[in-house]
Each structure stands twice: as C-alpha cells, then as structure tokens.
C-alpha cells in the first residue's frame, strides 16, 4: 500500500476570490500583517502495490484527468 499526497494550487495570476475572502476575514478578526492568502486542495490517496514509480505516473494521470484543472491549476505529487 502506497500513500501519496497530491497538492493542487492555483497558478500565479489566476484570481482566487476564496483566498481574498480569507484575507479579509483574518483582518476582521484582528490579525495584522497578513499578506496574500491563496487556497488550494489536497488529496490523500492510497494506492495498492509497492512500485513507487508506477504509482507516481498513475497519480500524474489522475491529476491530468480528474484532480486538477491544468488550465488554471498546478499540482504537486509526493509519494511516501
């Protein structure tokens, strides 16, 4: 069993209204000195087998097909 973490974040330059809302909320809660906030997603995926290279290429295909919108999002795969 391989455990992997896929992190999907918005590309630079893509507007992130959710992040902006969090910035505003943090300010309203009294947190000063908060700069930009960007929100992303994380997926913890379990895969059968023990071949890490195969798992990584499979995860890459999953990102391209489902987990990330590669027009506006970057993804990062880390296999434990």
């Amino acid at each position: 069993m391989i455990k992997a973490r896929v992190t999907v974040t918005l590309k630079n330059g893509v507007l992130d209204p959710q992040g902006k809302a969090i910035e505003g909320a943090l300010g309203a809660l009294g947190f000063d000195g908060v700069g930009h906030v960007r929100q992303g997603k994380v997926f913890d995926v379990e895969l059968e087998g023990a071949d890490k290279a195969k798992a990584e290429s499979e995860l890459k295909a999953m990102c391209e097909k489902l987990l990330a919108n590669t027009v506006i999002e970057n993804y990062n795969i880390s296999v434990d």
Copy 2:
C-alpha cells in the same frame, strides 16, 4: 515576508463524501487499485515580518479561529 503553508485535513473517522466521490470517479475512469481518498484544504499565507516563531503562533491562532474546524479537522503548519 514569511511564507507559510497550512494544511487542513479531516480527522480519522470523520466521513468524507467528497473523497468517496473522487474514489468512485477514479474507478470509473479506469484507475484500478485506488484505496481510500481523503480531501483536505491547503492555505498559502504570506505574513509580514521575519520572526518565524511569532508567525507560527499567529498561524496557530488563525487555524483555531478561522481556517480549521478543530472538532472535525486537524491542521499542520509549515513555515518556510
């Protein structure tokens, strides 16, 4: 300027319908051998100043107050 990443994930035992939907979708796309999938959130936060210890304690307060629901979610802070 300090850059930090906050990762918020569901605690063990908390149902994750979004993760289950992704499991199903990956299966439907022909990815075999996919076990559990859990989805979480990631926040990239910029903070003014250079005091990492202060930044970390401030981020902890942000998590407790806004970024995470500590009843059902765990959070992890990593300061660059």
